[in-house]
Protein backbone atom coordinates (compact mmCIF):
# COMPACT_ATOMS: atom_id res chain seq x y z
CA UNK A 1 0.00 0.00 0.00
CA UNK A 2 1.21 3.51 -0.76
CA UNK A 3 2.29 5.43 2.32
CA UNK A 4 -0.01 8.38 1.82
CA UNK A 5 -2.94 6.08 1.22
CA UNK A 6 -2.12 4.09 4.32
CA UNK A 7 -2.17 7.38 6.13
CA UNK A 8 -5.36 8.28 4.28
CA UNK A 9 -7.01 5.09 5.45
CA UNK A 10 -6.05 5.74 9.06
CA UNK A 11 -7.25 9.30 8.92
CA UNK A 12 -10.48 8.13 7.28
CA UNK A 13 -11.08 5.75 10.20
CA UNK A 14 -10.35 8.50 12.68
CA UNK A 15 -12.56 10.89 10.73
CA UNK A 16 -15.43 8.37 10.74
CA UNK A 17 -15.04 7.81 14.49
CA UNK A 18 -15.11 11.54 15.11
CA UNK A 19 -18.32 11.94 13.10
CA UNK A 20 -19.90 9.02 14.95
CA UNK A 21 -19.16 10.62 18.31
CA UNK A 22 -20.55 13.95 17.12
CA UNK A 23 -23.68 12.31 15.69
CA UNK A 24 -24.44 10.65 19.03
CA UNK A 25 -23.80 13.84 20.97
CA UNK A 26 -25.88 16.06 18.69
CA UNK A 27 -28.69 13.53 18.41
CA UNK A 28 -29.01 13.55 22.21
CA UNK A 29 -29.16 17.32 22.06
CA UNK A 30 -31.58 17.86 19.17
CA UNK A 31 -33.69 14.70 19.63
CA UNK A 32 -34.50 14.34 15.95
CA UNK A 33 -33.45 16.10 12.76
CA UNK A 34 -36.67 17.27 11.14
CA UNK A 35 -39.83 19.05 12.16
CA UNK A 36 -43.23 19.95 10.77
CA UNK A 37 -44.38 23.55 11.02
CA UNK A 38 -47.45 25.24 9.53
CA UNK A 39 -46.93 26.88 6.14
CA UNK A 40 -50.14 28.95 6.13
CA UNK A 41 -50.74 32.20 8.04
CA UNK A 42 -52.44 31.88 11.40
CA UNK A 43 -53.43 35.47 12.16
CA UNK A 44 -55.72 34.53 15.03
CA UNK A 45 -57.22 31.36 16.42
CA UNK A 46 -60.31 31.99 14.32
CA UNK A 47 -58.20 31.06 11.28
CA UNK A 48 -58.40 27.48 12.50
CA UNK A 49 -61.94 27.58 11.13
CA UNK A 50 -60.42 27.90 7.66
CA UNK A 51 -57.52 25.49 7.97
CA UNK A 52 -59.47 23.06 10.11
CA UNK A 53 -63.16 22.57 10.80
CA UNK A 54 -65.64 23.75 9.64
CA UNK A 55 -64.00 25.29 6.53
CA UNK A 56 -61.79 22.34 5.69
CA UNK A 57 -64.86 20.14 5.11
CA UNK A 58 -65.34 21.82 1.73
CA UNK A 59 -61.82 20.80 0.75
CA UNK A 60 -62.44 17.21 1.83
CA UNK A 61 -65.60 17.05 -0.24
CA UNK A 62 -63.80 18.34 -3.31
CA UNK A 63 -61.13 15.65 -2.95
CA UNK A 64 -63.77 13.00 -2.28
CA UNK A 65 -65.33 14.00 -5.61
CA UNK A 66 -61.99 13.75 -7.42
CA UNK A 67 -59.16 11.99 -5.62
CA UNK A 68 -56.34 13.54 -7.63
CA UNK A 69 -57.30 16.93 -6.23
CA UNK A 70 -55.43 15.72 -3.14
CA UNK A 71 -52.32 16.74 -5.09
CA UNK A 72 -53.60 20.31 -5.46
CA UNK A 73 -55.53 21.00 -2.26
CA UNK A 74 -53.21 19.32 0.27
CA UNK A 75 -49.49 18.93 0.73
CA UNK A 76 -49.52 15.51 -0.92
CA UNK A 77 -47.87 16.93 -4.05
CA UNK A 78 -44.67 17.62 -2.14
CA UNK A 79 -44.70 14.74 0.34
CA UNK A 80 -42.59 11.63 0.03
CA UNK A 81 -42.46 8.72 2.46
CA UNK A 82 -39.10 7.15 3.23
CA UNK A 83 -40.10 3.56 3.80
CA UNK A 84 -37.83 0.91 5.25
CA UNK A 85 -38.09 -2.34 7.16
CA UNK A 86 -34.62 -1.77 8.59
CA UNK A 87 -33.28 -5.04 7.17
CA UNK A 88 -30.17 -3.64 5.48
CA UNK A 89 -29.29 -0.35 7.07
CA UNK A 90 -26.03 1.17 5.81
CA UNK A 91 -23.32 -1.42 6.40
CA UNK A 92 -24.94 -2.43 9.67
CA UNK A 93 -27.31 -5.13 8.42
CA UNK A 94 -30.68 -5.90 9.95
CA UNK A 95 -30.85 -3.41 12.84
CA UNK A 96 -34.64 -3.13 12.87
CA UNK A 97 -37.03 -0.24 12.20
CA UNK A 98 -36.41 1.75 15.41
CA UNK A 99 -32.68 1.89 14.74
CA UNK A 100 -33.33 2.68 11.09
CA UNK A 101 -35.18 5.88 12.06
CA UNK A 102 -31.95 7.77 12.77
CA UNK A 103 -30.75 7.07 9.23
CA UNK A 104 -34.13 7.79 7.61
CA UNK A 105 -34.30 11.15 9.38
CA UNK A 106 -30.93 11.96 7.85
CA UNK A 107 -32.26 11.02 4.42
CA UNK A 108 -35.32 13.20 5.00
CA UNK A 109 -33.04 16.10 5.86
CA UNK A 110 -31.11 15.71 2.57
CA UNK A 111 -34.36 15.38 0.62
CA UNK A 112 -35.50 18.68 2.03
CA UNK A 113 -32.25 20.60 1.93
CA UNK A 114 -31.29 19.65 -1.63
CA UNK A 115 -34.67 19.01 -3.21
CA UNK A 116 -37.18 20.99 -1.11
CA UNK A 117 -39.14 17.75 -0.65
CA UNK A 118 -41.15 17.15 2.50
CA UNK A 119 -39.90 13.66 3.23
CA UNK A 120 -41.36 11.72 6.14
CA UNK A 121 -39.30 8.82 7.54
CA UNK A 122 -41.47 5.73 8.08
CA UNK A 123 -39.58 2.65 9.27
CA UNK A 124 -42.09 -0.19 9.59
CA UNK A 125 -42.14 -3.47 11.46
CA UNK A 126 -43.27 -6.12 9.01
CA UNK A 127 -42.91 -9.88 8.93
CA UNK A 128 -42.37 -10.37 5.21
CA UNK A 129 -42.15 -8.65 1.86
CA UNK A 130 -45.85 -8.94 1.05
CA UNK A 131 -46.76 -7.29 4.33
CA UNK A 132 -44.35 -4.47 3.48
CA UNK A 133 -46.11 -4.05 0.14
CA UNK A 134 -49.49 -4.06 1.84
CA UNK A 135 -48.38 -1.36 4.32
CA UNK A 136 -46.97 0.78 1.51
CA UNK A 137 -50.14 0.43 -0.54
CA UNK A 138 -52.17 1.55 2.47
CA UNK A 139 -50.05 4.69 2.75
CA UNK A 140 -50.36 5.69 -0.89
CA UNK A 141 -53.20 8.23 -0.41
CA UNK A 142 -50.98 10.35 1.83
CA UNK A 143 -47.94 10.74 -0.41
CA UNK A 144 -46.78 11.84 -3.83
CA UNK A 145 -43.99 9.27 -3.88
CA UNK A 146 -42.23 6.54 -1.95
CA UNK A 147 -38.52 6.29 -1.41
CA UNK A 148 -37.75 2.71 -0.41
CA UNK A 149 -34.61 2.59 1.64
CA UNK A 150 -32.22 0.05 3.09
CA UNK A 151 -34.17 -3.10 2.24
CA UNK A 152 -32.14 -6.26 1.78
CA UNK A 153 -31.55 -7.78 -1.64
CA UNK A 154 -33.20 -9.51 -3.49
CA UNK A 155 -36.36 -8.68 -1.52
CA UNK A 156 -35.91 -5.05 -2.60
CA UNK A 157 -36.44 -5.94 -6.29
CA UNK A 158 -39.67 -7.76 -5.58
CA UNK A 159 -41.01 -4.96 -3.40
CA UNK A 160 -40.06 -2.17 -5.81
CA UNK A 161 -41.49 -3.95 -8.84
CA UNK A 162 -44.73 -5.01 -7.17
CA UNK A 163 -45.25 -1.56 -5.71
CA UNK A 164 -44.55 0.23 -8.96
CA UNK A 165 -47.00 -2.05 -10.74
CA UNK A 166 -49.77 -1.43 -8.23
CA UNK A 167 -49.27 2.23 -7.23
CA UNK A 168 -50.09 5.45 -9.04
CA UNK A 169 -47.16 7.28 -7.45
CA UNK A 170 -43.42 6.65 -7.89
CA UNK A 171 -41.83 3.81 -5.87
CA UNK A 172 -38.12 4.54 -5.97
CA UNK A 173 -35.58 2.25 -4.32
CA UNK A 174 -32.58 4.45 -3.92
CA UNK A 175 -30.02 1.73 -3.22
CA UNK A 176 -30.80 0.27 -6.64
CA UNK A 177 -32.11 3.06 -8.82
CA UNK A 178 -30.29 6.04 -7.36
CA UNK A 179 -26.97 4.24 -7.43
CA UNK A 180 -27.60 3.03 -10.98
CA UNK A 181 -28.41 6.57 -12.16
CA UNK A 182 -25.32 8.22 -10.76
CA UNK A 183 -23.11 5.34 -11.89
CA UNK A 184 -24.44 5.61 -15.44
CA UNK A 185 -23.92 9.39 -15.39
CA UNK A 186 -20.30 8.77 -14.35
CA UNK A 187 -19.86 6.12 -17.04
CA UNK A 188 -21.25 8.42 -19.75
CA UNK A 189 -18.77 11.16 -18.88
CA UNK A 190 -15.86 8.74 -18.36
CA UNK A 191 -16.45 7.39 -21.85
CA UNK A 192 -16.59 10.96 -23.17
CA UNK A 193 -13.23 11.62 -21.52
CA UNK A 194 -11.53 8.61 -23.10
CA UNK A 195 -13.41 8.86 -26.40
CA UNK A 196 -15.14 5.47 -26.33
CA UNK A 197 -18.74 4.50 -27.05
CA UNK A 198 -20.89 2.65 -24.56
CA UNK A 199 -22.09 0.34 -27.33
CA UNK A 200 -18.51 -0.79 -28.05
CA UNK A 201 -17.38 -1.05 -24.45
CA UNK A 202 -16.81 -4.22 -22.53
CA UNK A 203 -18.08 -3.52 -19.03
CA UNK A 204 -17.44 -5.56 -15.88
CA UNK A 205 -19.78 -5.27 -12.92
CA UNK A 206 -17.93 -6.61 -9.94
CA UNK A 207 -20.36 -7.45 -7.17
CA UNK A 208 -23.88 -8.53 -8.04
CA UNK A 209 -25.93 -6.97 -5.28
CA UNK A 210 -28.91 -4.66 -5.68
CA UNK A 211 -26.86 -1.69 -6.91
CA UNK A 212 -24.97 -3.49 -9.65
CA UNK A 213 -27.98 -5.48 -10.83
CA UNK A 214 -29.87 -2.20 -11.28
CA UNK A 215 -26.81 -0.61 -12.86
CA UNK A 216 -26.48 -3.44 -15.37
CA UNK A 217 -30.11 -3.04 -16.40
CA UNK A 218 -29.70 0.71 -16.77
CA UNK A 219 -26.47 0.65 -18.77
CA UNK A 220 -28.05 -1.87 -21.15
CA UNK A 221 -30.96 0.54 -21.59
CA UNK A 222 -28.37 3.28 -22.22
CA UNK A 223 -26.93 1.36 -25.17
CA UNK A 224 -24.40 -1.08 -23.75
CA UNK A 225 -24.62 -4.49 -25.40
CA UNK A 226 -25.79 -7.07 -22.85
CA UNK A 227 -23.37 -9.61 -24.28
CA UNK A 228 -20.47 -7.20 -23.58
CA UNK A 229 -21.33 -7.02 -19.89
CA UNK A 230 -19.71 -9.38 -17.42
CA UNK A 231 -21.17 -9.76 -13.97
CA UNK A 232 -18.95 -11.05 -11.18
CA UNK A 233 -20.06 -12.29 -7.78
CA UNK A 234 -18.41 -14.12 -4.89
CA UNK A 235 -18.37 -17.31 -6.98
CA UNK A 236 -16.60 -15.65 -9.90
CA UNK A 237 -17.74 -14.58 -13.36
CA UNK A 238 -21.42 -15.29 -14.00
CA UNK A 239 -22.16 -17.20 -17.17
CA UNK A 240 -25.22 -18.98 -18.40
CA UNK A 241 -23.70 -22.41 -17.75
CA UNK A 242 -22.67 -21.83 -14.15
CA UNK A 243 -23.90 -24.59 -11.88
CA UNK A 244 -25.71 -22.30 -9.44
CA UNK A 245 -28.01 -20.83 -12.10
CA UNK A 246 -31.11 -22.76 -11.06
CA UNK A 247 -30.64 -21.64 -7.49
CA UNK A 248 -30.28 -18.10 -8.81
CA UNK A 249 -33.47 -18.49 -10.85
CA UNK A 250 -35.44 -19.30 -7.71
CA UNK A 251 -33.75 -17.05 -5.19
CA UNK A 252 -32.78 -14.05 -7.30
CA UNK A 253 -34.57 -14.02 -10.65
CA UNK A 254 -33.30 -10.49 -11.37
CA UNK A 255 -29.71 -11.67 -11.26
CA UNK A 256 -30.68 -14.80 -13.20
CA UNK A 257 -32.07 -12.71 -16.07
CA UNK A 258 -28.73 -10.95 -16.35
CA UNK A 259 -26.86 -14.25 -16.13
CA UNK A 260 -28.73 -15.40 -19.23
CA UNK A 261 -28.33 -12.24 -21.27
CA UNK A 262 -24.79 -11.10 -20.41
CA UNK A 263 -21.30 -12.51 -21.05
CA UNK A 264 -21.76 -13.71 -24.62
CA UNK A 265 -18.09 -14.75 -24.68
CA UNK A 266 -18.82 -17.21 -21.86
CA UNK A 267 -15.91 -16.02 -19.77
CA UNK A 268 -15.68 -18.27 -16.71
CA UNK A 269 -13.75 -18.46 -13.50
CA UNK A 270 -12.21 -15.78 -11.31
CA UNK A 271 -12.79 -12.03 -11.54
CA UNK A 272 -9.43 -11.47 -13.17
CA UNK A 273 -10.71 -13.29 -16.27
CA UNK A 274 -13.44 -10.69 -16.63
CA UNK A 275 -11.06 -7.75 -16.28
CA UNK A 276 -8.83 -8.90 -19.11
CA UNK A 277 -9.65 -6.85 -22.23
CA UNK A 278 -12.40 -4.82 -20.54
CA UNK A 279 -12.93 -1.08 -20.90
CA UNK A 280 -14.92 -0.31 -17.77
CA UNK A 281 -15.09 -1.87 -14.30
CA UNK A 282 -17.91 -0.88 -11.97
CA UNK A 283 -17.19 -2.41 -8.61
CA UNK A 284 -19.68 -2.44 -5.76
CA UNK A 285 -17.99 -5.23 -3.92
CA UNK A 286 -16.03 -6.08 -0.80
CA UNK A 287 -14.03 -3.31 0.85
CA UNK A 288 -10.43 -3.00 -0.20
CA UNK A 289 -7.75 -2.33 -0.66
CA UNK A 290 -6.69 -5.39 -2.60
CA UNK A 291 -10.16 -6.54 -3.66
CA UNK A 292 -9.16 -5.34 -7.12
CA UNK A 293 -5.52 -6.02 -7.85
CA UNK A 294 -3.32 -3.67 -9.84
CA UNK A 295 -2.44 -6.37 -12.35
CA UNK A 296 -6.16 -6.85 -13.04
CA UNK A 297 -6.42 -3.17 -13.99
CA UNK A 298 -3.26 -3.50 -16.09
CA UNK A 299 -4.90 -6.32 -18.03
CA UNK A 300 -7.78 -4.04 -19.07
CA UNK A 301 -7.89 -2.21 -22.39
CA UNK A 302 -6.13 1.12 -22.92
CA UNK A 303 -7.73 4.08 -21.11
CA UNK A 304 -9.43 1.86 -18.57
CA UNK A 305 -12.25 3.24 -16.43
CA UNK A 306 -12.42 1.96 -12.86
CA UNK A 307 -15.19 2.74 -10.38
CA UNK A 308 -14.21 1.34 -6.97
CA UNK A 309 -17.30 2.16 -4.95
CA UNK A 310 -16.91 0.19 -1.72
CA UNK A 311 -17.03 2.38 1.38
CA UNK A 312 -15.17 3.47 3.37
CA UNK A 313 -12.18 1.77 1.73
CA UNK A 314 -12.42 1.37 -2.05
CA UNK A 315 -11.60 -1.96 -3.67
CA UNK A 316 -8.39 -0.39 -4.99
CA UNK A 317 -6.89 2.99 -4.07
CA UNK A 318 -7.29 5.52 -6.90
CA UNK A 319 -3.54 6.08 -7.15
CA UNK A 320 -2.92 2.35 -7.53
CA UNK A 321 -5.56 2.16 -10.26
CA UNK A 322 -4.08 5.06 -12.22
CA UNK A 323 -0.56 3.70 -11.80
CA UNK A 324 -1.86 0.43 -13.24
CA UNK A 325 -3.19 2.25 -16.29
CA UNK A 326 -6.67 3.52 -15.41
CA UNK A 327 -7.51 6.80 -17.16
CA UNK A 328 -10.53 7.59 -14.99
CA UNK A 329 -11.12 6.43 -11.42
CA UNK A 330 -14.18 7.05 -9.27
CA UNK A 331 -14.91 6.07 -5.67
CA UNK A 332 -17.71 6.53 -3.16
CA UNK A 333 -15.60 8.91 -1.09
CA UNK A 334 -15.70 12.66 -0.90
CA UNK A 335 -11.97 13.02 -0.31
CA UNK A 336 -11.06 11.70 -3.77
CA UNK A 337 -12.17 13.16 -7.12
CA UNK A 338 -15.28 11.71 -8.79
CA UNK A 339 -17.49 10.78 -5.85
CA UNK A 340 -20.31 8.51 -7.03
CA UNK A 341 -23.01 9.55 -4.59
CA UNK A 342 -26.78 8.91 -4.66
CA UNK A 343 -27.34 12.33 -3.13
CA UNK A 344 -26.64 13.76 -6.58
CA UNK A 345 -29.73 11.91 -7.84
CA UNK A 346 -32.65 11.39 -5.52
CA UNK A 347 -33.40 15.00 -4.48
CA UNK A 348 -33.68 16.06 -8.13
CA UNK A 349 -35.52 12.93 -9.22
CA UNK A 350 -38.13 13.39 -6.49
CA UNK A 351 -38.38 17.14 -7.09
CA UNK A 352 -39.18 16.38 -10.74
CA UNK A 353 -41.46 13.42 -10.06
CA UNK A 354 -43.43 15.43 -7.52
CA UNK A 355 -43.62 18.53 -9.70
CA UNK A 356 -45.09 16.43 -12.53
CA UNK A 357 -47.32 14.57 -10.05
CA UNK A 358 -45.77 11.47 -11.63
CA UNK A 359 -47.63 8.18 -11.58
CA UNK A 360 -44.43 6.16 -11.41
CA UNK A 361 -40.78 5.89 -12.32
CA UNK A 362 -39.38 3.90 -15.22
CA UNK A 363 -36.08 3.12 -16.82
CA UNK A 364 -36.69 5.91 -19.36
CA UNK A 365 -37.05 8.42 -16.56
CA UNK A 366 -33.86 7.10 -14.98
CA UNK A 367 -32.03 7.50 -18.28
CA UNK A 368 -33.24 11.08 -18.52
CA UNK A 369 -31.92 11.76 -15.01
CA UNK A 370 -28.54 10.17 -15.75
CA UNK A 371 -28.12 12.04 -19.03
CA UNK A 372 -28.94 15.32 -17.34
CA UNK A 373 -26.45 14.70 -14.54
CA UNK A 374 -23.78 13.83 -17.12
CA UNK A 375 -24.59 16.87 -19.27
CA UNK A 376 -24.52 19.13 -16.22
CA UNK A 377 -20.74 18.68 -16.20
CA UNK A 378 -19.79 21.16 -18.89
CA UNK A 379 -16.24 19.97 -19.46
CA UNK A 380 -15.76 16.40 -18.24
CA UNK A 381 -12.20 15.49 -17.33
CA UNK A 382 -10.47 12.54 -15.64
CA UNK A 383 -11.13 14.16 -12.26
CA UNK A 384 -14.52 15.66 -13.09
CA UNK A 385 -17.03 13.12 -14.37
CA UNK A 386 -19.90 13.95 -12.02
CA UNK A 387 -21.05 17.16 -10.31
CA UNK A 388 -20.67 17.72 -6.57
CA UNK A 389 -23.42 18.39 -4.05
CA UNK A 390 -22.27 22.01 -3.79
CA UNK A 391 -23.50 22.62 -7.34
CA UNK A 392 -27.08 23.00 -6.16
CA UNK A 393 -28.48 23.98 -9.54
CA UNK A 394 -27.94 20.37 -10.54
CA UNK A 395 -31.12 19.51 -8.65
CA UNK A 396 -33.60 21.70 -10.56
CA UNK A 397 -31.94 20.62 -13.81
CA UNK A 398 -32.42 16.93 -12.95
CA UNK A 399 -35.94 17.70 -11.75
CA UNK A 400 -36.86 19.32 -15.06
CA UNK A 401 -35.44 16.38 -17.03
CA UNK A 402 -37.41 13.91 -14.90
CA UNK A 403 -40.66 15.90 -14.94
CA UNK A 404 -40.64 16.53 -18.67
CA UNK A 405 -39.76 12.89 -19.44
CA UNK A 406 -42.58 11.68 -17.18
CA UNK A 407 -44.90 14.03 -19.03
CA UNK A 408 -43.73 12.75 -22.45
CA UNK A 409 -44.21 9.16 -21.32
CA UNK A 410 -47.76 9.79 -20.19
CA UNK A 411 -46.71 9.19 -16.58
CA UNK A 412 -47.60 12.65 -15.25
CA UNK A 413 -50.70 14.29 -13.87
CA UNK A 414 -49.26 17.73 -14.51
CA UNK A 415 -47.72 18.80 -17.78
CA UNK A 416 -45.42 21.59 -18.81
CA UNK A 417 -42.32 22.47 -20.77
CA UNK A 418 -38.88 21.51 -19.55
CA UNK A 419 -38.20 25.22 -18.99
CA UNK A 420 -41.31 25.69 -16.88
CA UNK A 421 -40.47 22.63 -14.78
CA UNK A 422 -36.93 23.95 -14.33
CA UNK A 423 -38.23 27.36 -13.26
CA UNK A 424 -40.64 25.98 -10.67
CA UNK A 425 -38.09 23.51 -9.26
CA UNK A 426 -35.41 26.19 -9.14
CA UNK A 427 -37.73 28.57 -7.29
CA UNK A 428 -38.85 25.93 -4.81
CA UNK A 429 -35.35 24.76 -3.98
CA UNK A 430 -33.91 28.26 -3.81
CA UNK A 431 -36.78 29.49 -1.64
CA UNK A 432 -36.37 26.50 0.67
CA UNK A 433 -32.64 27.08 0.98
CA UNK A 434 -33.18 30.77 1.70
CA UNK A 435 -35.82 29.99 4.30
CA UNK A 436 -33.52 27.51 5.99
CA UNK A 437 -30.66 29.99 5.97
CA UNK A 438 -32.88 32.66 7.53
CA UNK A 439 -34.01 30.25 10.22
CA UNK A 440 -30.39 29.53 11.03
CA UNK A 441 -29.49 33.22 11.06
CA UNK A 442 -32.47 34.05 13.24
CA UNK A 443 -31.53 31.15 15.54
CA UNK A 444 -34.89 29.40 15.12
CA UNK A 445 -32.62 26.48 14.39
CA UNK A 446 -30.29 26.33 17.33
CA UNK A 447 -26.52 26.20 17.08
CA UNK A 448 -24.69 22.97 17.62
CA UNK A 449 -23.76 22.44 21.26
CA UNK A 450 -20.15 23.06 22.20
CA UNK A 451 -19.50 25.43 19.35
CA UNK A 452 -20.20 22.83 16.67
CA UNK A 453 -16.63 22.27 15.59
CA UNK A 454 -16.38 19.29 13.30
CA UNK A 455 -12.64 19.11 13.39
Amino acid sequence: MLDQEKEGKESETQRTDRFKKLALRYSRHFKGKINTIPKVPIRELNDFSIWYTPGVAAVSLEIARERDLSFELTGRWNSAAILTDGTRVLGLGNVGPEAAMAVMEGKALIFNYLGAVNAIPIPVRVSDRDQFISVAQSLEPSFGGFNLEDIESPKCFYIQEKLQQSLTIPAWHDDQLGTACITLAGVINSLRVVGKKISDSRIVLMGSGAANIATARLIIAAGAKAGNILMVDSNGVIDSERKDLDSMMINNPWKYELALSTNSERVKGEAVNAFRGSDVVLSASRQGPGTIKEEWVSSMNRDAIVFALANPVPEIWPRQATDAGAAVVATGRSDFPNQINNSLVFPGVFRGALDARATGVSIDIMLAASMQIADFVREPGPEKIVPTMEEWELYPSVASAVASRASELGMARKHGSRESFYKSAHELIEENRNMYRRMLEEKYIKNLPGGGENE
Partner: protein, 161 residues
Protein backbone atom coordinates in the same frame (compact mmCIF):
# COMPACT_ATOMS: atom_id res chain seq x y z
CA UNK B 1 -34.21 -20.90 -32.04
CA UNK B 2 -35.46 -24.35 -30.97
CA UNK B 3 -35.78 -25.10 -34.72
CA UNK B 4 -32.00 -25.43 -34.78
CA UNK B 5 -32.19 -27.97 -32.03
CA UNK B 6 -32.86 -31.59 -32.79
CA UNK B 7 -34.52 -33.94 -30.34
CA UNK B 8 -33.19 -37.48 -30.69
CA UNK B 9 -32.59 -40.64 -28.71
CA UNK B 10 -29.85 -40.46 -26.13
CA UNK B 11 -26.55 -42.11 -27.02
CA UNK B 12 -23.75 -43.36 -24.79
CA UNK B 13 -21.66 -40.42 -25.96
CA UNK B 14 -24.24 -37.99 -24.48
CA UNK B 15 -23.96 -39.42 -21.01
CA UNK B 16 -21.27 -37.03 -19.77
CA UNK B 17 -23.41 -33.97 -20.53
CA UNK B 18 -26.55 -35.69 -19.30
CA UNK B 19 -24.92 -36.42 -15.94
CA UNK B 20 -24.26 -32.70 -15.53
CA UNK B 21 -27.90 -31.95 -16.29
CA UNK B 22 -29.11 -34.64 -13.89
CA UNK B 23 -27.01 -33.07 -11.13
CA UNK B 24 -28.46 -29.69 -11.96
CA UNK B 25 -31.98 -31.13 -11.84
CA UNK B 26 -31.42 -32.73 -8.47
CA UNK B 27 -29.93 -29.54 -7.05
CA UNK B 28 -32.96 -27.65 -8.36
CA UNK B 29 -35.23 -30.09 -6.52
CA UNK B 30 -33.19 -29.50 -3.38
CA UNK B 31 -33.78 -25.75 -3.74
CA UNK B 32 -37.50 -26.37 -3.52
CA UNK B 33 -37.44 -28.98 -0.75
CA UNK B 34 -34.52 -29.95 1.51
CA UNK B 35 -35.98 -33.46 1.72
CA UNK B 36 -34.31 -33.91 -1.64
CA UNK B 37 -30.83 -33.34 -0.30
CA UNK B 38 -28.41 -34.08 -3.11
CA UNK B 39 -26.02 -36.94 -2.37
CA UNK B 40 -23.59 -36.34 -5.26
CA UNK B 41 -23.21 -40.03 -6.16
CA UNK B 42 -20.01 -41.18 -7.85
CA UNK B 43 -20.07 -40.21 -11.52
CA UNK B 44 -19.35 -43.80 -12.55
CA UNK B 45 -22.44 -45.02 -10.72
CA UNK B 46 -24.64 -42.50 -12.53
CA UNK B 47 -22.96 -43.23 -15.84
CA UNK B 48 -23.57 -46.96 -15.46
CA UNK B 49 -27.19 -46.37 -14.50
CA UNK B 50 -27.75 -44.20 -17.59
CA UNK B 51 -25.93 -46.60 -19.91
CA UNK B 52 -28.08 -49.40 -18.56
CA UNK B 53 -31.24 -47.37 -19.16
CA UNK B 54 -30.14 -46.62 -22.74
CA UNK B 55 -29.63 -50.35 -23.31
CA UNK B 56 -33.02 -51.31 -21.86
CA UNK B 57 -35.06 -49.64 -24.56
CA UNK B 58 -38.25 -51.49 -23.65
CA UNK B 59 -38.21 -50.17 -20.10
CA UNK B 60 -37.02 -46.60 -20.70
CA UNK B 61 -37.23 -43.81 -23.22
CA UNK B 62 -34.33 -41.36 -23.10
CA UNK B 63 -34.28 -38.35 -25.40
CA UNK B 64 -31.92 -35.39 -25.62
CA UNK B 65 -32.20 -31.98 -27.20
CA UNK B 66 -29.10 -31.62 -29.34
CA UNK B 67 -27.73 -28.15 -30.10
CA UNK B 68 -24.81 -28.51 -32.48
CA UNK B 69 -23.71 -31.81 -31.00
CA UNK B 70 -24.19 -30.78 -27.41
CA UNK B 71 -26.99 -32.14 -25.23
CA UNK B 72 -28.85 -29.16 -23.78
CA UNK B 73 -32.04 -30.87 -22.60
CA UNK B 74 -33.15 -34.32 -21.49
CA UNK B 75 -36.29 -36.28 -20.86
CA UNK B 76 -36.29 -39.75 -19.36
CA UNK B 77 -39.46 -41.78 -19.05
CA UNK B 78 -39.79 -45.20 -17.41
CA UNK B 79 -42.37 -47.63 -18.72
CA UNK B 80 -44.49 -49.07 -15.89
CA UNK B 81 -46.90 -51.99 -15.97
CA UNK B 82 -50.31 -51.23 -14.42
CA UNK B 83 -51.71 -54.68 -14.07
CA UNK B 84 -54.85 -53.61 -12.19
CA UNK B 85 -55.73 -50.65 -14.40
CA UNK B 86 -56.34 -49.75 -17.98
CA UNK B 87 -54.41 -48.92 -20.00
CA UNK B 88 -51.96 -51.57 -18.81
CA UNK B 89 -48.89 -49.42 -19.39
CA UNK B 90 -47.89 -45.98 -18.25
CA UNK B 91 -44.86 -43.91 -19.21
CA UNK B 92 -43.65 -42.04 -16.13
CA UNK B 93 -41.41 -39.03 -16.78
CA UNK B 94 -38.79 -39.13 -14.04
CA UNK B 95 -36.07 -36.84 -15.34
CA UNK B 96 -36.63 -33.64 -17.28
CA UNK B 97 -34.24 -30.72 -17.63
CA UNK B 98 -33.38 -27.95 -20.08
CA UNK B 99 -30.21 -25.89 -19.71
CA UNK B 100 -31.02 -22.33 -18.55
CA UNK B 101 -29.99 -20.49 -21.71
CA UNK B 102 -32.15 -22.77 -23.87
CA UNK B 103 -35.32 -22.14 -21.88
CA UNK B 104 -38.21 -19.99 -23.08
CA UNK B 105 -37.84 -21.38 -26.58
CA UNK B 106 -40.54 -24.06 -26.25
CA UNK B 107 -37.76 -26.64 -26.09
CA UNK B 108 -39.39 -28.34 -23.11
CA UNK B 109 -42.58 -28.80 -25.10
CA UNK B 110 -40.57 -30.07 -28.05
CA UNK B 111 -38.97 -32.73 -25.85
CA UNK B 112 -42.39 -33.76 -24.58
CA UNK B 113 -43.82 -33.87 -28.13
CA UNK B 114 -41.02 -36.14 -29.23
CA UNK B 115 -41.66 -38.33 -26.20
CA UNK B 116 -45.35 -38.58 -27.18
CA UNK B 117 -44.31 -39.56 -30.70
CA UNK B 118 -42.18 -42.36 -29.28
CA UNK B 119 -45.00 -43.48 -26.99
CA UNK B 120 -47.39 -43.59 -29.92
CA UNK B 121 -45.04 -45.93 -31.76
CA UNK B 122 -45.19 -48.20 -28.74
CA UNK B 123 -48.97 -47.91 -28.35
CA UNK B 124 -48.57 -46.42 -24.87
CA UNK B 125 -51.47 -44.06 -24.22
CA UNK B 126 -50.89 -43.04 -20.62
CA UNK B 127 -48.19 -40.64 -19.44
CA UNK B 128 -47.43 -39.23 -16.03
CA UNK B 129 -44.68 -37.12 -14.51
CA UNK B 130 -42.96 -37.47 -11.16
CA UNK B 131 -41.44 -34.45 -9.47
CA UNK B 132 -41.18 -32.94 -5.97
CA UNK B 133 -44.54 -31.48 -4.92
CA UNK B 134 -42.86 -28.20 -4.06
CA UNK B 135 -41.23 -27.79 -7.49
CA UNK B 136 -43.54 -25.05 -8.66
CA UNK B 137 -41.81 -24.74 -12.02
CA UNK B 138 -42.49 -28.39 -12.87
CA UNK B 139 -46.02 -28.04 -11.52
CA UNK B 140 -46.72 -25.07 -13.78
CA UNK B 141 -45.13 -26.78 -16.78
CA UNK B 142 -47.14 -30.00 -16.55
CA UNK B 143 -50.37 -28.23 -15.67
CA UNK B 144 -49.85 -26.13 -18.80
CA UNK B 145 -49.67 -29.40 -20.75
CA UNK B 146 -52.97 -30.61 -19.30
CA UNK B 147 -51.61 -32.88 -16.56
CA UNK B 148 -53.39 -33.10 -13.19
CA UNK B 149 -52.55 -34.61 -9.84
CA UNK B 150 -53.37 -38.32 -10.01
CA UNK B 151 -51.13 -39.82 -7.33
CA UNK B 152 -49.85 -38.34 -4.12
CA UNK B 153 -46.76 -39.57 -2.32
CA UNK B 154 -46.28 -38.33 1.22
CA UNK B 155 -43.00 -38.66 3.06
CA UNK B 156 -41.11 -37.71 6.16
CA UNK B 157 -37.80 -38.32 7.80
CA UNK B 158 -37.91 -40.61 10.82
CA UNK B 159 -36.49 -39.16 14.00
CA UNK B 160 -33.30 -40.81 15.15
CA UNK B 161 -33.98 -42.93 18.24
Amino acid sequence: MSDEIEVRKMKDSDVGQVIDMMHRLKRLNQEFDPTFQVSDPPVEEVRESLNEAIRQEKKHILLVADAGGKAVGIVKADIHDRIYYLPRQDARITEFYVMPEFRRRMLGRKLISELYRELKKRNITMVSAEFPSSNLIALGFYRGLGYRNIVSVYGRHLEES
